[in-house]
């Protein structure tokens, strides 16, 4: 979900995805580098992101990932699911003893 979100903002290469996730989560979340690429390939295989070769900022060939239509849909679903879960947990944590 985080990868999808990262890629949804703008096409990114693998390293970029890593940086972006770190940035948007305010350095709170860091994906282990070893699992990033398998995850990318899995998403690619599922058709959620599409790869494309392009030029990097320092003029090197790099593989950029873009979110596909299916990826956008999945991101929406997962975000909604996550929000539901988060609010449910938040509600649960707000509960007081009288309510039980």
């Amino acid at each position: 979900m985080l990868i999808l979100k990262a890629v949804s903002l703008k096409p990114l290469h693998g390293y970029g995805v890593l940086l972006r996730i770190r940035q948007i989560s305010g350095n709170a979340l860091a994906i282990p580098q070893g699992s990033l690429y398998p995850a990318l390939y899995r998403l690619e295989h599922q058709g959620l992101i599409a790869p494309e070769w392009g030029q990097s900022e320092n003029n090197r060939r790099a593989k950029y990932y873009t979110l596909t239509g299916a990826g956008r849909r999945r991101l929406r679903e997962e975000a909604a699911g996550w929000n539901r879960l988060a609010s449910a947990i938040a509600a649960a944590l707000r509960a007081t003893s009288e309510e039980v």
């Binding site: 390293y15 990097s56 790099a62």
Partner: protein, 885 residues
């Protein structure tokens, strides 16, 4: 083919691109990260190190990426295949033995399956072959039978008129060799006589012209001919103007009315066809016609059978059957042509299939045994892999893949072996032996071979794979994988099974060999050495005149007797070893006086008995004095005399009222081919009467028998060099236009008569030698393995005082024991299986003691040879083996 190949290439290309992309992407990642780290103040070296560290093992990442792509399974498979191939490559002895075993077994099977495919499975090359049938009759009663029937003229009329469900046609029983002259070209061809509608039954339409009309098929109808495509090409260069032209066939002009399409065949398989013109007279008096029929649209075979039986039950032949076999039932019915055409070969072919199946089982047992040993040797490898975390499924999959690889290679080599074996086999067969033109190696054979390979893979793989299930991690680690008693017993059982099947095959082969030897050593009743023979077709209008026939015989024989070195020359309608004309005579004396009996009849010239050196037992032989005008005479053979005159001397008695018997000669062997009563040996001695050729004065009879038989000229000479050419010249001096079929030594006739038996023996002998070889390899491998694996144990035994001899016996006992167990099992199997062979054995019982003894001795000898690896025990040095520990 091409799209598939392209797809494969594309997949490979994509794969390479994928790998390159993956590498590049990861490198890019590391470099970017390194740069960022350097920018944040880390030293370049440290940065590079950290970048690598954080990514983790590059190969692990790559592997995970590959798996994420969904192709992980394929990659693993490819890796395992490669590993398996490497393993097999490293064990050339094992791999070679297994592949060779598989190749021989699968080769034998695919060669024999090709025959089955061509004979029994492939459809006959006609339109809707399932609608074409032929006539069978079933009789009940004391002599019940169920065989294909030929019909006479009256039966044919009934079949044609009274069976509306079928379109019927008849042909002569076989083709006859004949000379055809078209323009200036003369050729010796196979001429077939067929009725009108014969080609309609087969749905064969001439490329040009038409088929025979009803009018042309009447007795004494106009003479017409239909050419086969090949003859049309060779004689007329494929010129359509051939229609309406005349060809000289059997000395008479026939008008060409049609040409058959290229590649068209008929059950008769002739080069040129003439109208049969069947009637009730002449050949129509006896069952000389073969019927074929096509089921018309609408009725079913049941209806057709009912109509057939109804139509034929009123005929004279059926009434005669009813009067001589009271209480017995005669039922006519139709049988598919395919089944009928392969009827005689079917049991032989199926027996071969069974034998080949035995070979496959034996090969599987061998391979299972070898693989078992290999698996046990690899116990430590398996243990290590298990300890390193491989799942049992992974290890088993690895073994299956090795097996599959072996099976595929073995199958491919086997296909080659099968192809060669089939070519050899077909060369062994006489021409026109099989009812099919070719034995193709088609997709069905390929499919069969493939499934056979898979079957062997499974059969031989199950056991070893099950055995590795028992590998226990703890006890095997650090162990030396000493071969266990259980596995030796298992292998002994496998070998016993092999040996049992081999014993059955050997016994069957032995019985067939005994039969063949028996047949070959039947005293022929004459002296075949030094006799040369040639046949000529007298199925020619010029020789329908008995005077012309006599003149030809006299002139040609006179010329032949003048050839230097020739001791005698004669002509006979048929020779010993051949089938003879069957005809009826009326007995005039004794208890059976007035009774008609069917007997073999042969017309011969004077000197026939002298030339063949057939002993004369009583009376005299023929001389030139037995002329057409003199007293009609015959000579009978010993069997005839014994059968119809019992103890009395037949000389001076009469047959057919006025034909005097003037002599008795010894029996000669005859071919029983085409005899109606099945189950007789291929060579028999039967009642025969000989009549002087000069006294055959019935023109009709002469033309009839010459339609069936080509008489043989025989010459006895001490020096056969150059005699054939001189014989031909002598014959040409009497008639320059007489075609000669070719020259043979009479002793070769026996070989031709026994060709079927010989081929059967040769094939079965080849198969059982293969079985014996495989069993020997199995025993050899078992013993050799035990010696190799137990070197240490043997060393200890000998160090403790056991002698070499004792140890050898100890080790050899496993092999010999397995073989003995197999022998016992095999003999029990023989009791059940061999009685099925009774119909092909002549002059030898099913449980023939000498054969069985030979089988047992052969097996003992082979077993002893196969246990020779025990000799290696002698080279084991106890001190050294113990030091190696």
């Amino acid at each position: 083919m091409f799209p598939r190949l392209r797809a494969l290439v594309r997949a490979l290309m994509a794969r390479r691109a994928f790998e390159a992309g993956l590498t590049e992407e990861l490198r890019f990642h590391i470099e970017q990260y390194t740069e960022d780290l350097v920018r944040s103040g880390v030293s370049p070296e440290e940065a590079r190190r950290r970048a690598r560290m954080e990514l983790g093992g590059i190969n692990t990442v790559k592997e995970e990426c590959r798996e994420a792509r969904g192709l992980g399974g394929f990659d693993a498979l490819e890796r395992e295949c490669r590993y398996a191939a490497r393993q097999l490559w490293r064990n050339p002895g094992f791999t070679g033995t297994v592949v060779l075993t598989l190749a021989l077994a699968i080769g034998a099977n695919s060669a024999i399956f090709s025959l089955v495919n061509a004979l029994l499975l492939n459809e006959l090359p006609y339109t809707h072959p399932e609608r074409i049938g032929t006539l069978y009759a079933r009789t009940s009663g004391p002599q019940s039978s169920d065989t294909r029937r030929t019909i006479d003229g009256e039966q044919w009329e009934r079949l044609r008129e009274d069976v509306p469900a079928l379109l019927t046609a008849v042909s002569a029983m076989r083709t006859s060799g004949a000379n055809v002259r078209a323009g200036s070209v003369v050729q010796y061809v196979r001429a077939g006589r067929v009725s009108a509608q014969y080609f309609d039954v087969l749905v064969l339409h001439p490329v040009i012209g038409r088929t025979f009309s009803e009018d042309e098929d009447r007795p004494q109808g106009p003479r017409t001919a239909i050419l086969g495509y090949a003859l049309w090409q060779s004689a007329f260069g494929g010129n359509p103007n051939a229609l309406g032209q005349a060809v000289l066939l059997k000395g008479e002009p026939h008008t060409i009315i049609g040409v058959l399409p290229e590649g068209a065949t008929t059950p008769l398989n002739a080069d040129v066809y003439t109208a049969l013109q069947p009637g009730r007279e002449g050949e129509g008096q006896a069952a000389n016609f073969v019927a074929i029929m096509r089921l018309r649209d609408g009725p079913t075979w049941q209806q057709a059978d009912a109509e057939l039986n109804q139509a034929l039950s009123g005929t004279a032949r059926a009434r005669r059957f009813a009067s001589t076999n009271s209480g017995a039932q005669l039922t006519y019915y139709a049988v598919a042509l395919q089944k009928a055409a392969t009827d005689t070969l079917r049991p032989q072919v199926l027996a071969l299939v069974l034998a080949a199946g035995f070979i496959l089982l034996i090969a599987c047992a061998n391979i299972a045994g070898l693989t078992l040993v290999r698996m046990l040797r690899r116990t430590s490898e398996v243990t290590i892999r298990l300890a390193l975390g491989a799942s049992r499924w992974q290890i088993q999959r690895q073994m299956w893949i090795e097996h599959l690889l072996l099976a595929c290679v073995g199958g491919a080599v086997g296909l080659g072996v099968g192809f060669l074996a089939l070519r050899g086999l077909l060369q062994l067969l006489p021409e026109h032996f099989l009812p099919v033109a070719t034995v193709p190696l088609d997709s069905r054979v390929l499919g069969f071979t493939l499934s056979l390979s898979l079957l062997t893979c499974i059969l031989s793989g199950v056991l070893p794979v099950v055995a590795t299930k028992n590998v226990d991690l703890r006890s095997s680690v650090g162990g030396r994988g000493v071969i266990g008693g259980a596995s030796v017993r298992l292998r002994q059982l496998l070998i016993a099974g092999e040996v049992a099947l081999t014993v059955v095959l050997l016994a069957a082969t032995g019985l067939l060999i005994r039969t063949l030897i028996g047949l070959q050593t039947i005293p022929p009743g004459f002296n075949p050495t030094g006799v040369i023979t040639a046949k000529a077709s007298l199925d020619d209008i010029r020789y329908h005149d008995p005077a012309a026939f006599r003149k030809l015989l006299t002139e040609s024989l006179t010329a032949m007797r003048e050839i230097p070195g020739v001791q005698g020359a004669a002509v006979g309608l048929t020779l010993p070893y051949e089938r003879a004309l069957l005809n009826a005579v009326t007995l005039s004396a004794g208890k059976e006086a007035g009774q008609q009996v069917t007997t073999n009849q042969v017309y011969v010239t004077p000197q026939y008995f002298e030339t063949l050196q057939i002993p004369v037992l009583a009376g005299r032989t023929f001389s030139d004095a037995d002329s057409p005008d003199a007293q009609p005479v015959v000579i009978v053979n010993q069997t005839f005399a014994r059968k119809f005159f019992h103890q009395e001397n037949p000389v001076g008695r009469y047959l057919n009222k006025n034909v005097r018997i003037v002599g008795v000669v010894a029996d000669t062997v005859l071919s029983s081919e085409a005899r109606l009563n099945a189950g007789t040996a291929p060579l028999t001695r039967e009642e025969t009467i000989y009549l002087p050729a000069a006294q055959v004065v019935d023109a009709k009879l002469l033309s009839l028998v010459h339609g069936f038989f080509q008489p043989s000229w025989i010459v006895r000479t001490a020096s056969p060099m150059g005699v054939p050419a001189q014989m031909q010249r002598a014959l040409a001096s009497a008639d320059p236009q007489l075609p000669v079929s070719g020259f043979y030594y009479v002793k070769d006739l026996m070989a031709a008569t026994l060709a079927t038996q010989r081929i059967g023996v040769a094939l079965l002998a080849a198969i059982s030698s293969l079985a014996l070889l495989l069993s020997a390899v199995g025993i050899f491998a078992l013993v050799a393995n035990i010696v190799a694996q137990r070197t240490r144990e043997i060393g200890i035994r000998m160090a403790l005082g056991s002698t070499i001899r004792k140890t050898m016996i100890q080790v050899g006992r496993t092999g010999v024991g397995a073989s003995a167990m197999g022998l016992a099992l095999g003999l029990i199997l023989c009791v059940g299986v061999l009685p099925a062979m009774r119909s092909v054995l002549y002059g030898v019982g099913v449980y023939d003691a000498p054969t069985m003894l030979a089988v047992v001795l052969t097996l003992c000898a082979v077993t002893l040879l196969a246990t020779t690896p025990i000799l290696r025990v002698a080279h084991i040095d106890p001190a050294q083996t113990l030091r190696e520990e």
